[in-house]
Every structure is written in structure tokens, then in C-alpha cells.
Symmetry: C2
Subunit: 135 residues, 2 copies
Amino acid sequence: MNAPAPMIRLTTQRQIILEELSKVKTHPTASELYDMVRKRLPRIGLGTVYRNLELMADSGVILKIEVGGTQKRFDATTDEHYHIRCSVCGKVDDIDVPVVKELVAQAAETTSYLIMGHHVEFTGICSTCQQQQAQ
Amino acid sequence: MNAPAPMIRLTTQRQIILEELSKVKTHPTASELYDMVRKRLPRIGLGTVYRNLELMADSGVILKIEVGGTQKRFDATTDEHYHIRCSVCGKVDDIDVPVVKELVAQAAETTSYLIMGHHVEFTGICSTCQQQQAQ
DNA sequence: TAGTTGATGATAATTATTATTTAATCTTGA
DNA sequence: TCAAGATTAAATAATAATTATCATCAACTA
């Protein structure tokens, strides 16, 4: 007797949420994603977006990135990489800086925490906001 | 004619908020700090704590650390250093890992953002939570 | 000392998220 | 195919964290 596999159904809503998230290189918040998905599924509820993002993050299909700013953001790419956040508009992008694996080892030496991982977040001003400030 | 210096008054509330924040090595949230400050100033308002933390962070007296987790946290130490957050209880501590200055240079090469800084956040389980889980 | 400005405390409003409820949809076995 | 049961969705309510508003009070200035 196997534990009754909880078996997650691939519903239209889930499929489209995942598709829309995979489309973009930035990392939308739940409500940004809600706006994107609504263009294809106008009757979807915001709760559905939240619930399914949370579900997919728990099962490892997507990444929940809790970086600076007040809102959680989501990422369809799950390999380890770093992010940069615009301090003006709050947008979050991937940044192509090699992951520094040694950091975790270094940290382990100086702390009583059991280390699970690390994340680097750069802050800066994106090109759009730079142009707007230059005016 | 100098621009009229906005002159920030050092009120009792501000003084005590800063004192309490400086006392601890962890990085309290606004409402944790509110509880601490209330022991000395029982009639202080939560809004005052929020307002002044924000003010002091803007003027560089303290550091606002917006890392993972839902709440903002504050730090009386403003020199550059990294943090570790317990994924069980949410507590945030300093961690004594040397700052990797090269990261900013590396990032600058691969992005169109104007880079302002970076921050490393480790996640792990603090010793208290480790013991509780072991039971 | 009167008037102006800035700060506080109380409270209301907002924002982001999570939980609950009800209804719809899918799955499976008779 | 149909009914029973499970899963999901949408709508809505509830909660948590933060920010805004505002009447009042205190501090500084002319």
C-alpha cells in the first residue's frame, strides 16, 4: 500500500500560469503574473495564481525568490543563479555572475547555523530608469 | 544662502529606538523593536517606530535589510557585512564571511544596470531550531 | 511670548497574502 | 454512463505588515 500519491492535476490554469512565467526573463510578482494570465484566462482568480505559484514552488517546479522589496517574486528557472533588483522601479532580473560555491563553506566555519544555501542580490538602477533620471 | 538644512531633531523616542537597536546583535523587525522600546516608553506608537526607522535608514544612520521573509529588519551596524537567516524561526544574524568586493565588478561587466551594491544572504537553521527539531 | 514648524500617538487605510467557503470539474469503479 | 468521492477553482473573508492621515503637543524662532 503506497501512500495515496497526492497527484497534482495539470489544469489549464496551472499550465497557463507556468507558460506565462516561463515567457519572461524578469521575475514577476503574483499580481503581475495575474495580469499576464488574465489576458488569456479573463475569469481566473488572484487566489488561484497565489495558490498555484506556492504549490509549484513547494514541489520545485519553479523558484520563489524572496529578495528585497515587499513582494515575493517567482522564477521559472530553477538552477542556481543570482539576481539584480532596480532600486527605482523594483524590477528583478537574472544576472550572469558565476555562483561562488566557496561562500557556503566559508560561512559554515564561522556559524552555528546549519547552512542550507545562499543568495546574492545586487542592487542598482536599470537602464530604463537611468534614462528617465538623466532627463 | 544655504538651503535650509532640514535638521532632524533628536527626540527621546529616536534616541531610545536607536539605543535599543544598537543593543542587540540580531536584526529586529519594526514590531520587535516596538516591544523593546515600549518597556522604556510605554506610550510610544507603532507608527513612530516605523517612521523613525525609515528616517534613520534614509539618512544612513542605520541599515534597512530587506532580505527574505515578509518583514523588513533593521541593523545598527552600517559597515558592509553579510547575514544569515533561519528558515524555521526567521531570525537574522550577522555572519563573519569576508565581503567579496569583486562581485560588483563582475556584475558590472554583464549588465546594463548601474550597480550600487550587493548583499549576500545565507539561509540555514539556527542552533535553537536544530535542537528543537532533533527532539 | 506668539506663531510656525515638526513630531508624536491614535487611528484609519492600503497592500500583499493566506484561509475559507461554495461550486464546478475530474476520476474511477459499479 | 452514472454516481460518489476527490480535487480544483472562483469568490470572498480574514490576516499581517506597513503606510497615511490627522488632531494635538512640544520645540524652536522671530
